[in-house]
């Protein structure tokens, strides 16, 4: 729907809402107060620990509130609200290229963390954590994910076409940091123009290759991509680094390129606004924190048949109920679905047709898992590798009996994780108590002995 349209920048909104928790990990801590004037690109909240990133003002203006606001996760959450100054030229706080050739890996990592970078594919995991190679591990290949993570979205496609230079700068810096041999950019074959454009512009001295990949969901999932490009499988329960690979999304790389080229931290992003429920689908560049309603207005508003507005794609996105929620760092798309697309369908009994087995990218048995989940036999699901489920939703999509498989798996996984955490705590407490008891026992014996 939006693949042929250039990325447009939307006008600066009247106000931006910047939740302190836009990434996985600890929320950031505000360093500005209500009433302060802030400049676009200025630090307004600092990282809280290693798995956390700072937050920057995405517009120049005045901080009007630091309060709980609607958050795309559904729960209101603490956010910094900035009223945009309509007279400001919206230039960057500190503009200019950053030095990187002479920086060592830890300094480069710190620069990326200070830039507030998180994975722009959707998961919003802090980028510097992903790029930090643990002691004793080695990275052979750096993989760039140019597969759109979900159907409908064209964010990555447009970025590959329009931010090619930044992508290569980003790759160059990251290769240096990781000490990796080579970069592969995996792109699905429904984006031949992007493949061609990337291939044309690879700098001669950059060890980088574009790999065309079959177009299928979930090709953009990290583990699938590693298998498709390198024919390696990440062992169950481990990370890509265990097969000497680090993966990152093209959008993130392009952002890092921009950071080093212009000194621009992560304050804006490209978002696909699409679906039959919106009048003018487009791919837009917008400040992080722009209210959803403003984006939709820019796209001509919602149509009459609108039924659902999603953040993310149709397979793993999240439904929104309030149009005042802000666009976040991890928002890759806004999908507007119409009534006939989301009709609730009647659930039939499982006829063991095995469509879900064929669809599951990690080769689980969703049919069996589904019936176990239905009867609450979660413990048995552990043995069938439920924790390897990546919740891509393929099983629910294909199921002819309309069984909410992945939905039940999420519940099961949540409960199992909770149970495991509880067991761990209980075990630790027991060990501690035993130790104490042994100690107390020893004291008593000592006393008895001394009498």
């Amino acid at each position: 729907m939006t693949r042929g349209r250039l990325i447009e920048r939307i006008p600066f909104p009247d106000e931006v809402i910047l939740p302190l928790s836009q990434h996985l990990g600890a929320p950031s801590k505000p360093v500005v107060a209500v009433g302060d004037t802030v400049h676009r690109g200025q630090l307004i909240a600092e990282a809280c620990g290693f798995v956390s990133v700072p937050l920057h003002a995405s517009v120049t203006g005045r901080v009007t509130a630091i309060e709980k606001r609607f958050h795309p996760s559904g729960r209101p959450s603490e956010a910094i609200v900035i009223a945009c100054d309509p007279t400001s030229p919206q230039t960057l706080y500190e503009e200019g290229p950053l030095q990187w050739e002479n920086l060592a890996t830890p300094e480069l990592l710190a620069t990326i963390q200070d830039g507030g970078f998180v994975g722009l594919g959707g998961a919003a995991f802090p980028t510097h954590v992903k790029l930090a190679v643990p002691e004793g591990k080695r990275v052979q290949f750096f993989l760039v994910n140019g597969c759109e993570c979900e159907p409908y979205l064209t964010t990555d496609h447009r970025i590959m076409l329009e931010y090619t230079e930044s992508i290569f700068l980003g790759i160059r810096i990251i290769l240096k940091m990781l000490g990796a041999e080579k970069t592969f950019i995996g792109v699905e074959t429904n984006k031949w123009d992007a493949i061609a454009s990337l291939r044309d512009q690879i700098p001669a001295d950059l060890p980088c290759e574009v790999i065309p990949l079959q177009t299928k969901y979930p090709q953009g999932a990290e583990k699938m991509l590693i298998k498709a490009v390198l024919h390696r499988e990440v062992p169950s329960g481990r990370l890509p680094i265990d097969v000497q690979v680090v993966v990152s999304n093209v959008g993130t790389i392009a952002g890092i390129g921009e950071l080093f080229a212009y000194g621009q931290p992560l304050i804006e992003r490209v978002v696909t606004v699409t679906g039959p429920g919106v009048h003018n689908p487009s791919t837009l560049l917008m400040p992080v924190g722009t209210p959803l309603s403003q984006v939709l207005d820019y796209c001509g508003g919602l149509t009459e048949e609108i039924a659902q507005v999603l953040f993310g794609g149709p397979m793993m996105g999240s439904a929104q109920y309030n149009l005042q929620v802000p666009i976040m760092k991890g928002t890759s798309g806004i999908l507007c679905l119409t009534e006939h697309q989301v009709l609730s369908r009647r659930e039939y009994p499982c006829i063991r047709c095995a469509a879900c087995l064929d669809a599951c990218p990690v080769f689980l048995n969703p049919s069996l898992l589904g019936s176990l989940a239905r009867s609450g036999r979660y413990d048995e699901m552990l043995g069938l590798h439920i924790l390897d489920c990546m919740e891509c939703g393929s099983c629910s999509y294909v199921c002819p009996s309309n069984i909410p498989l992945v939905q039940r798996f999420r519940v099961a996984k949540g409960l199992l994780r909770e149970q495991q955490a509880r067991e761990k705590v209980a075990k630790e407490r027991e060990a501690r108590e035993q130790q104490e008891r042994a100690k107390v026992g020893g004291d008593v014996q000592e006393k008895v002995g001394s009498k």
Partner: protein
């Protein structure tokens, strides 16, 4: 201007759904059976039509009684599985069968084959074959009395005592003939394979025209509603086993092609063994299942007391399905190669 808050639906992902559900699949199975049903009527006239109608009515009625009385709109019959069961049962019956027996078979197919296990998706055995096995046990003579095939000119002629009343002794002596398998087994008289392919032999309603059945199977495979591994595996096993026996003693054991296209093998392999509920869900399992059916079919035909063994082979392998599924679980992404717990 601000977008007025519309009425939005909240749900969890995925938000889109493949527009195929159980009734769609059942509908396509019925489409794929149309040529076979037409052939049955061509060869066996109005008898075939009556038996098919009675079986579908019997299955539909029983399903309605047990699974959800009330308005048809909300009834589980709507999934169409009972209709498929009825048609498939009819296709395995001899054309001269008294209609009341066919009706009873249809009722039992649903009760013994499905309802007792908890309904669609929970049954261990293929319902149509369960119904037929029930009839075979109760009325062995009626179930093995085969009318000769005819053509459209004799459309209106009944092929046997279709209209006999319940529990009266039906007249079977009028016209009867032997099936190719029986001729082979008891009289060592082979039938031309071309006749078997086209269906111009005696036999059950829908088992005679092998080509049309394969056509239906091909359509379902194309629509991805049928696991082709099962029929292919069965055909391959039957062919290999039969050829092996044929090489040992060509006098006693017919060649592979005869086995492939005679009796209910094609119908059973394409439409019965592939019943998703009662066959393995894993791909490896499908091959094991198919090989088991193939071996049993030839073994029963050649070494057992009956001329035909497709029904019992499939039912037996149905019983092994949970076991096969258990030992053929696929290796998960990133899992260890062997010794998975």
């Amino acid at each position: 201007m601000s977008t007025e808050a519309p009425h939005l639906i909240l749900s969890t992902s995925p938000f889109l759904k493949r527009p195929v559900d159980t009734p769609t699949i059942m509908r396509h199975v019925i489409y794929s059976l149309i040529p076979v049903m037409l052939a049955a009527m061509f060869y066996f006239g109005v008898s075939a039509l009556l038996i098919m109608l009675v079986c579908v009515a019997g299955c539909g009625f029983t399903e309605w009684v047990f699974e959800g009385r009330g308005p048809l709109r909300d009834s589980p019959i709507k999934d169409g599985s009972a209709i498929v069961t009825g048609i498939l049962l009819a296709l395995t019956l001899p054309p001269g069968l008294p209609l009341w027996m066919a009706f009873l078979g249809a009722v039992m197919a649903i009760i013994l084959g499905k309802v007792l296990f908890g309904g669609l998706g929970h049954n261990v055995f293929n319902p149509s074959l369960t119904g037929r096995a029930f009839l075979q046990a109760c009325f062995p003579v009626a179930l093995t009395t085969w009318a000769p095939y005819g053509d459209l000119g004799r459309f209106l002629a009944l092929r046997g005592d279709n209209l006999s009343l319940p529990f009266l002794k039906p007249q079977f002596d009028a016209v009867s003939t032997a099936t190719p398998l029986a001729m082979m087994k008891f009289e060592s008289q082979p039938t031309e394979v071309t006749n078997l392919l086209l269906g111009s032999t005696s036999g059950s309603l829908g088992e005679t025209a092998a080509l049309l059945i394969l056509l239906g199977g091909g359509y379902l495979t194309y629509r991805k509603f049928l696991n082709w591994r099962i029929p292919v595996g069965i055909f391959a096993t039957v062919f290999l086993f039969a050829t092996l026996l044929n090489l040992i003693n060509a006098e006693k054991y017919p060649a592979g092609p005869f086995h492939l296209f005679s009796g209910g093998l094609v119908l059973g392999a394409v439409f019965m063994a592939t019943d998703p509920v009662t066959s393995p869900v894993t791909q490896k399992g499908a091959w094991v299942f198919a090989a088991g059916v193939g071996l049993l079919v030839v073994a029963i035909r050649q070494f057992g007391g009956l001329p035909e063994g497709v029904m019992y082979s499939i039912l037996l392998m149905n019983a092994f399905t949970p076991l096969i599924d258990r030992v053929t679980q696929p290796r998960i992404y990133g899992g260890r190669k062997k010794g998975e717990s």
